[in-house]
Point group: C2
Chain length 157, copies 2
Amino acid sequence: MLNLQDEIKQSKPFSSLEEEVYLNIQRTAYILAADSERIFRSANLTGVQYNVLRILRGAGKNGLACSEISNRLITKDSDITRLLGRLEKMELINRCTNPVDRRGVDASITKKGLSVLTSLDEPIAKLNKDRFGHLTVEMLEQLNALLVLARSGDFNI
Amino acid sequence: MLNLQDEIKQSKPFSSLEEEVYLNIQRTAYILAADSERIFRSANLTGVQYNVLRILRGAGKNGLACSEISNRLITKDSDITRLLGRLEKMELINRCTNPVDRRGVDASITKKGLSVLTSLDEPIAKLNKDRFGHLTVEMLEQLNALLVLARSGDFNI
DNA sequence: TGACAATAGTCGTTATAACAAGTATGTTTT
DNA sequence: AAAACATACTTGTTATAACGACTATTGTCA
């Protein structure tokens, strides 16, 4: 098994343990995301698009305001309008101005969107099970706890 | 302290512990990267550009082939040519075709590039120290070990 | 040696991300 | 009720990422 230093062929050791942790998190996120993206791509979706659809599925029939979708994204999207525009063009979501506050726009998932999303449920679940299958429940829980702790030093969450 | 479920305002629990770990890694990477990017930006660099400069500083005077730079990046860049082009335009690196194998192009860091990079060393080191300051050495080491383990299920590193 | 394959990088194109400025609607304040 | 402010989204612009096709050079082998 490779450690980070071998993987990125760095000859010098890291300048600090903290730095190693940071780079390690970035690299792990990148590698794992690449595999997930491959599945999203099979349905012609990007990662963000997939996440928006999941959020809207969770939100149900009434849909959600643009800003709220943005808030719930794992990674913020600086341009929710055009992201939703692309999803609407693919007929995966609907948009309509909120009748109560006409500044707002509510988005909701379409039947087609729902079916695309459902088709990805199993592959995604399987990927997650498979790639972490060699870790025990205790390890996974500990990893979760450490990650939450690791980012709690930043207060601009 | 917020857990991931609160942060992204998800009402339903995650469909699996594995999925939670995955999302947790992505979110942590995103939040931590945002802070680092802020520092890079202060020197008019993106994260990838900063990493390329660090790689070239490590490589020394002889420089490195484009492909090798690409290999050593934490996250792969699909277009190293134009990335190096931008750095060259900023006079932070030089490029010359490799005299031995004229297909290759070697890049090396300039004096200016070196000084920009050096100016970021302290802020970056401080950021890493600060944001992980509340974690013990044991915790950091454990986090590192778990991360390496977490991505070792993927064999396309 | 000459054809074919492999390697190293470049470039064209389209999509997406980032940032800032703009527009429409709603809220507050005096 | 009008002015000032706040909110919610949209749009313009520029930079960067992703993907594939293309060029130049080197290696292989019949």
